[in-house]
Symmetry: C2
Subunit: 343 residues, 2 copies
Amino acid sequence: MTPTSHPRLLACLDGEVADRPPIWFMRQAGRSLPEYRLLREKAPDFIAFCLNPEMAAEATLQPVRRFNFDAAIVFADILLIPLALGQKVWFEAGEGPRLGELPEMSRLRDGIAQVEEMLAPVGETLRRVRAELDPSRALIGFAGGPWTVATYMLEGRGGDRAAARATAFSQPELVDGIIDVLVEASAIYLAMQVRAGAQVLQLFESWAELLPEDLFERLVSRPHARIVARLRELGVDVPVIGFPRGAGALVEEYAFVAKVNCIGLDVQASAAVGRRLQANGWAIQGALDPLLLRAGGAAMETRVRQLLDQWGLGPYIFNLGHGILPDTPLAHIEQVVRLVSEP
Amino acid sequence: MTPTSHPRLLACLDGEVADRPPIWFMRQAGRSLPEYRLLREKAPDFIAFCLNPEMAAEATLQPVRRFNFDAAIVFADILLIPLALGQKVWFEAGEGPRLGELPEMSRLRDGIAQVEEMLAPVGETLRRVRAELDPSRALIGFAGGPWTVATYMLEGRGGDRAAARATAFSQPELVDGIIDVLVEASAIYLAMQVRAGAQVLQLFESWAELLPEDLFERLVSRPHARIVARLRELGVDVPVIGFPRGAGALVEEYAFVAKVNCIGLDVQASAAVGRRLQANGWAIQGALDPLLLRAGGAAMETRVRQLLDQWGLGPYIFNLGHGILPDTPLAHIEQVVRLVSEP
């Protein structure tokens, strides 16, 4: 428990195993917090909120203040990239995101040049957060995985992804073209986040499930590898966490192809697979079920201890296997932080 | 290509590798066939149709006549068991199944005694099919996996399963009690199907996805193992195919715990995992994407050859990774049967 200014999360991503794992939660900022809901009342438009550095920085810091998490993750949205590329994006209250017509491929390609300037406010958010954040806490930047973002761009909303997968079969050039644009745009956006203070990057591939092996490699693993390679070309050397939610039996193949530094595991993670990944040099992150966090009680406590026992001897970042549910009792989050912090 | 009366599917389940894999498709009977849609016009109520041996036998045989599949699977529904246990079940046109209130646990337990009599028409369907089916074709009986059936019983419909998973956390005794009833009812029902002519049994666990490892073992793998053990106690020695759709990284643990003879793999199957299962003594089945079958074309042909190449040297039953989609062109099905039959 020696407090130092070197963030525990970064040490873990370097392969160090300390007295306890670092902990943060996906969607730790946002609707589960009353202070966030108050803040949002001042800026009801979600995109405007994400692009307001003062408010987005406050939202980023709120959960770290309240729960003393080991990391802050910049408050933003994976759909800022299609927005920056020239596709209309808005949020219907209570229904989630909607996207306008998919622009022509040539316009999307031209859009890459605007990404850095259009998303400069996210850089400003990171600078503000870094200035306020305790140096012992890590700051995480992120982008959506190209396939996940492409499904929104193709379907115009979140959905069953079956339509996007069908398009990947029937119009491969279209889908591969969108992925190419997203790989380059994401690398530029993530490099900008690192220059603004992000010390770790995460790729949220929320919808890796149900992809056949050949499609998974084409649409998920290789595009991630290309983003990582492009980041290195751009001089970015911070660790990258890849989170291919739903990768299932393909998660180890993902690790070997994508060449990220840490593998985010979803709620269905296998203890044995996690240990194999650690033995092969990866840090791992996850995999507490957000439904169990919401349910709480003895079952939650048992599962937290089980995760610590099964993975705690290797580099392991305690986290959920998916984002916090909005109606999660805050006392449950406090309890898990306590269980992980005082083993 | 020696035609014998010993069904190719049974030889494969015995571990034999022949000149080509056997082939059948999940949901091969039903809405994708015009002759089925004609038949259904005579009995619009779906439950009544399932419990009408003349019509159900005809629906079972239609796809084998048309496509020359290596197996027929009895036309029935996984929700016949809750119906037999005393829960109301009906189908809303275009919307899928609806279930009435969950009966008290004591009533569900009492319901087990009615299963065999209530579902006797399914036995009669099997006898009629067996009498007409060419002896070289195998006849498959089935039941839903207990967890999948329990999610319908708990939620009153198909859905996101999150509510059922939350109940598994918050009311474990209730969920475990339902699973116990379903294990016993399924074993009785499946044993009856074998006495009526089924030569193979399949457990359709359609919703194994998103279950944390401890829950997966508790709700999927162990209940399957108990069904298999109970079948053996009841003197049933036919091979059992377990299909835990969405088991992901847990599919090998499933194989070792559930002790079924063949593992059904979903669309996201890993080639390497499939080969390991074969090397460890299991036959495998799957995993062509139904969306790719619907899309057709060169991509479909390439993927079919890839599946044959990657698994054809071990016991492999060619199948989909999920059911046929209703709007699948029949020419695509014919083409896949041809590709598999004339390699």
